[in-house]
Symmetry: none
Subunit: 207 residues, 4 copies
Amino acid sequence: MILEAARKVFLKRGFRAPTVEIARKAGVSEGTLFKRFPTKPELFMAAMNVETNDQVWQEQLMRSVGTGDMKEALEAAAVSMIQQVQIILPRVMMIHSSGVTVAMDYYLPNKPPVLQHLELLTRYFRAEMKRGRLACASPELQAHAFIGSLYHYVICDFFHRYRPVPAREYVRGVVATLLRATRPERQQNAKQPRAKIAPRRTKGPKK
Amino acid sequence: MILEAARKVFLKRGFRAPTVEIARKAGVSEGTLFKRFPTKPELFMAAMNVETNDQVWQEQLMRSVGTGDMKEALEAAAVSMIQQVQIILPRVMMIHSSGVTVAMDYYLPNKPPVLQHLELLTRYFRAEMKRGRLACASPELQAHAFIGSLYHYVICDFFHRYRPVPAREYVRGVVATLLRATRPERQQNAKQPRAKIAPRRTKGPKK
Amino acid sequence: MILEAARKVFLKRGFRAPTVEIARKAGVSEGTLFKRFPTKPELFMAAMNVETNDQVWQEQLMRSVGTGDMKEALEAAAVSMIQQVQIILPRVMMIHSSGVTVAMDYYLPNKPPVLQHLELLTRYFRAEMKRGRLACASPELQAHAFIGSLYHYVICDFFHRYRPVPAREYVRGVVATLLRATRPERQQNAKQPRAKIAPRRTKGPKK
Amino acid sequence: MILEAARKVFLKRGFRAPTVEIARKAGVSEGTLFKRFPTKPELFMAAMNVETNDQVWQEQLMRSVGTGDMKEALEAAAVSMIQQVQIILPRVMMIHSSGVTVAMDYYLPNKPPVLQHLELLTRYFRAEMKRGRLACASPELQAHAFIGSLYHYVICDFFHRYRPVPAREYVRGVVATLLRATRPERQQNAKQPRAKIAPRRTKGPKK
DNA sequence: GATGAATGAGCCTTCATTCAT
DNA sequence: AATGAATGAAGGCTCATTCAT
């Protein structure tokens, strides 16, 4: 597939990568390439496309509001988000650095993923706050920080191949921090001993 | 100054920006440009230089360990870090996307800023934990997440001109969250010194 | 043909001749030029190629050893040699003066023509001496001098458009001189045994 | 000395050699260089100057006519000529290949050395023929061939570092050949006036 | 439709020449 | 007078784009 090849080449060598190389990698001639994408920038933008058709996790997260286990819901969402960001971030960076001037309107008609994520999480936090399951001064800011933690994991991996722990474990830590920081102070609850973040409770019952 | 001009042009138009344009913007001839920087990639790498000689805040933060107000210390550090990242991040991204192959060893001899930050904060958290002023399962992960929140502020600003609140306010929120999540459980719980998030409970019997 | 054009241009204007000019003269674009010859020096060396696939006369000369008319054989060879040298000499000179550093190994894998010629003639003279049809102190030196006479004809023509007589006539003269100088002294002259070129007779009284 | 340096550099790297390099080698600044020689071609032509102020041997040779030992006179002249040619030939070649268009009038006001040599030797041969000390069909052609043998020695050395024997020995051989070929047929052969090399014997019956 | 040779505009780089010091 | 930094025109080379096959 042409876009596949273009993506690989562009992400490795930048926008400067010659079209011949893309054509060769895609197994087609340059003629064919340019019949499909009349100019290089068009090919580039198509290859760096950032449309995300996988919003399953977004809907799941919102559906969980008020009902499910917040920790589980957030962890699942976070893992999915990391996966998505791993795909999207390099492309967004590539676009921004390419000097291709179409840059700002590339994720039309949708909002750029980062802002989508922000909005979603903000809505989620706000919703859970309304239900009294979360307490924080600014849900938006909280969302910002939460997402930032996740993005940073991707950034460290992408820039420096630095991955201190597996994604899932990282997510657990981040979610735990979040929940601890936003735990509503109920009647100074003696009945919730701990067990919040308890990482490895997978098998046996604690009792 | 040449590097100033080169930086501006490169950051706006990418590595593809013609050297004439840089020369013109710098107010010198192309000849002069190439006498100072023998090749375009060299000029590029010099302009994208990421060496950071301003580690004042790093030292201040570490000096505050055990003594000052943690909130204040962290907020000050965070604001400085954001400022530094605002400068550095676009350059790192530019380098990575440029296809210039010197890419990976560009911040030699020092470590890349991102990892420097991570290390510093980890050390800081660990130090404060030792003093009992902070409690968390994994100081490294905590640092990761904290820094991530700050980076993300820069990213949103850089990519989408999105800046929900002023940096200082954002920082306040993030630090508050952090401190809330890592507040050691004082007097009322003195018999549970650790074991909070305790990731490594693998061996010893709890009893 | 590209090489044809390149040759003409290079021989007239030197290595400095712009590639555009060659392209124009060859009736192609610069792009095509550089697709065929990736760098200018490569084009240059290809155009100045000195490989000589026309060794007919060399074989003919050697085949004539001992049988044919020496004068005719030598004249034919000399005329051919002059023709070949007229092609080769300007190129060799061009290469040497161009400053292109590949210079010394350009006629690999074969020996350079000059030395080829020297070797051939030396072998020829030696062969004819063995047959008693020629007498000289040093066949190699004789060959050297003979060839030199021919080269010089080309040089005068090339440098100064000076051509005192037609090539064929010149050749006749040179061959005649050679044959006269190397005529074996037959029976009637038995009293002059050697003393031919008598190298060190500088001092001794003539008597 | 500037010209010295220029010569070295030009002869090694061709006309393309940068003027900076020459200046550096000459130990002066580029400014000084261009104050002395307003343009590069002028510097080049000055460095490749071919004026020969050492005509001693030419006069000596002519003075020897009819008196001295022809062999010795010719050998001395030949050695001097080789020395001179070793200096001049590379320069002439360089000029011709440089593409510098002043090329044809560079040895004004004198004749180019090659032709000077030719003329001189022709006159010498003719003079000695008049005295009966030499016999040949065409003194000019004889001179041509003689000089050619000497030039070729220089060429082989220059192009291929090929020097079969020391110059002096080579010269002895060449002169010996010449003298043998042009030895007047003394007393015993008075009825063969000319007809030796007989250039135009093509048509008429010899009778 | 697919191909890939040909094009030529554009860009990096060099270097002769100038000129303020 | 000497210097050498600055200039900018020129040239080698690349590569997006076209088009005849």
